[in-house]
Amino acid sequence: MFRKVLVANRGEIALRIVRALRDLSIRSVAIYSDVDRLSPHVRYADEAYHIGPAPARESYLNIERIIDVAKKAGADAIHPGYGFLAENSDFAEACAAAGLTFIGPTPESMRLLGDKVAARKTAERANVPVIPGSDELTSLDDIRRAADRIGYPVMLKAAAGGGGKGVRVVRSADELERAAAAAMQEAKAAFGNPAIYVEKQLWPVRHIEVQIIADQYGNIVPMGERECSIQRRHQKLIEECPSPVVDPLLRRALCRAAVRIARQADYHNVGTVEFLLTADRSFYFIEMNTRLQVEHPVTEMVTGVDLVKDQILVAAGEELPYDEAELLTRGWAIECRIVAEDPFNNFLPSVGKVMLAREPAGPGIRVESALYDGIEITPYYDSLLAKVTAWGRNREGARTRMKRALTEFRVEGVATNIPYLLQILDTPAFIAGDIDTAFLDRYQVQPSEPVEEQRLAAEVAALLFTTGAIEDGRRPAPAAPTRAGRSEWRRQMTLSTGGSWWRNS
C-alpha cells in the first residue's frame, strides 16, 4: 500500500482525493498555484507545496515540476484527479520513469482509449458499435472531405479533448470553414493539440455512460449507468444514476459493451465508457474517460462504493473486494454542477470574490466543493464551484431534495447557475425524465425579475440597515458628515429619535 500520495490537482476534486487518502490512512501531498494558497485542498492535506503561478501551464500542467515535488516530498504515487494531466500519457510515463505510481491506467491502455480516434478503433475491435466518423485531422481540406462523406449535420471534436471543450456542430457545408478554424484553435488552447475529428451527429440522443472499475488481475466490475443528457454547450450540468430509460436488459447490454472495451485495452483503474442512446434504444460508443469523472458521486450514492478509495487500492495492486453480483444499488441520485456563470447574462463567467458561501446539508445531500468565504474566483481555471448530489428512494425523491438543497445554497459575490438549475428541475419534461442532449436548447433560462414581495423585503431591509434600525445595533457608526446638508440630516435624526430610537431598551 502507498504511504504518501501527491494529488496533482486543485479545487473540489483535490479535496475529494485528500479525503479518500485520509480514510485510507495514507499521507497526502497537495500542490498549489499562487492563487490557490488558501484552498481547502491545501489546508486539509498533510503537506503542501507551491508549484508556480496561476496559469495552469505553469503550475498544474507543469509535469517536470510536479514530479520534482513528488520526489522531494517522498511520495510513492500521484493521483491526477480529472482534467489537467489526468489523461496525459506523457505524464503517466514521466511518473513511471521517476519510480512513482500513476493512479490511473497504464500509458499503453491510455493511448488505446484516451485519444478519441484510437478509442473508436479499440471499440470496433471489441465489437461495440461506434458513430460514423473520421480519423484525426488537421487540414481544412481533409475535414471538408470527411464531412461530405459522413453527411451533415456533423460534429467537430478535439482529438485530445474531453469535457466538451472544442466541440462544434456544423449543420451545412458553408458553416464548415469558420467552425473548423474555431474548433482547432480551441483544441490547441485547451489541449495543446489542434487535431480534430469529424463525426455524424445523431439526433435526438441521450448521453448514457457506464462506470467501471478494473483491477490488475482481470476483474472488471461495471457499476451501472449514469444519465448525463442535461448539457449546455456539451458541458454536463445535471447527471443522474440510474437513467430513467435504461431497463435491466439494456443496462446489461451497456455494461457488457463497457467491459469488452476495457478488456480489449487491458484496462485497470476506474473509467467511464460513454455512449449515445437513440430513441430506438440502440447505443453507440463515443469515448472512454480513463480517469475519475466529475459526476462519480451519483454512482457512489446509489452503490455505496467509494470509487476514489477503490481506485487507489487497485492502483496499489490490490484485488477488487467485490464483483458485479455483489454490488447492490439502492434509490436514485442526481448531481447538479454549480458553476460561476451568470445564467441571466448569457452565461458569462463570473469572476471575483465569494463574500459568503453557505452550503446545503441535511438528509440525502452531499456537497463536493472547495468554496470558502473570501475565495477569489479567477479566470485561470474552469468555472466549477461545487457539486451538489441528492439521494432519494426514487427519482422524484432525489429531485425534490435537490430543489431544497439548491434553495439553501448561498453564494454571495459571484453569480452562479443555481437559479437556472432550479428552473430546469421544475420543467415538466425533466420531471417526466423526458430528456435528451438538446434539452437545454429547448428550455433556456427564463428571465426572473424580483417579485413585489422581494422588492418590499429588500427595500425594508435597506431602510432598517441604513437608518440603523437593526436589532443589535451592529451597523458601524456613520462617518462624519461631509456636507452641510448631511449635518442637518444628522441633527434632525438625533432630535427626533433621541439618538437611539431603534434600541430596545
Binding site: A190, F344, P349, E459, L463, S496
Partner: protein, 183 residues
C-alpha cells in the same frame, strides 16, 4: 413617526413611514399602501448575512454598505442597490434630474480574460445584439454583443490583449438622441 425615501438607482423611489412601537417593535408602511408591516432586521454573525422578519416571515438577505446612506441588498439572485434619505418635499424632484440620458455607450469587459477576435472598427454601424468581439475566459470563448444600435466611435482593445473586468473595450455612439446609457 419618520419618513424616508428609498431610491433604487434606476430612478424609481418609494417613500416609507417607519414607526417604533412599544416593546421595541418597528413597523413600516410604503406610501400609497394601507398596510403596515412589522419588521425586524438582525445580522447573522459578521458574515454580511441578515435575517429580516417581515410580518414574521423570515427572509435571508445579504447586505453590504454602499456609501453613507446606501446599501446593496441581495435577495435570491437579485442584487438591489438603494440610497436612503430622509424625506423632504424637494427630494423626489432632485432624483428625477439625476437621470441623465447619454448617447455614448461604453462596452466594458464583463469578466477578466483575453481578446480573441475584434469584429468591429471605428466608424462601423452596428446593430443591437451584433457581435463586437470575442473574448476568452475560463477556457471558453464569449461573444460580446452591442448593447444598442449605433456607430463605433472607439475600439480600445486588440486580439491577444488581456483585459480586466470593467475595462472599456469599445465605445458606441448610440443612434437616436433618446437612448439612455443603460447597458
Amino acid at each position: 413617526m419618520e419618513k424616508f425615501v428609498v431610491s433604487d438607482g434606476n430612478g424609481s423611489a418609494a417613500t416609507y413611514e417607519i414607526e417604533r412601537l412599544a416593546g421595541g417593535e418597528v413597523r413600516v408602511r410604503r406610501e400609497g399602501s394601507d398596510t403596515w408591516h412589522t419588521a425586524q432586521l438582525e445580522a447573522v454573525g459578521n458574515s454580511g448575512l441578515f435575517l429580516l422578519l417581515l410580518d414574521h416571515r423570515p427572509v435571508e438577505l445579504y447586505i453590504q454598505e454602499r456609501g453613507r446612506n446606501g446599501a446593496v441588498v441581495t435577495i435570491g439572485r437579485h442584487n438591489l442597490k438603494y440610497e436612503v434619505e430622509r424625506w423632504r418635499p424637494s427630494l423626489l424632484r432632485r432624483q428625477e434630474s439625476r437621470r441623465r440620458p447619454t448617447g455614448l455607450i461604453e462596452v466594458t469587459a464583463p469578466m477578466t480574460g483575453t481578446i480573441v477576435e475584434v469584429g468591429c472598427a471605428v466608424g462601423d454601424r452596428v446593430e443591437q445584439g451584433q457581435v463586437l468581439l470575442v473574448m476568452e475566459s475560463m477556457k471558453m470563448n464569449n461573444e460580446i454583443r452591442a448593447p444598442a444600435t449605433g456607430e463605433v466611435s472607439a475600439v480600445e482593445v486588440a486580439p491577444g490583449q488581456r483585459v480586466n473586468a470593467g475595462q472599456v473595450m469599445v465605445r458606441i455612439r448610440a443612434a437616436g438622441a433618446d437612448e439612455t446609457g443603460n447597458h
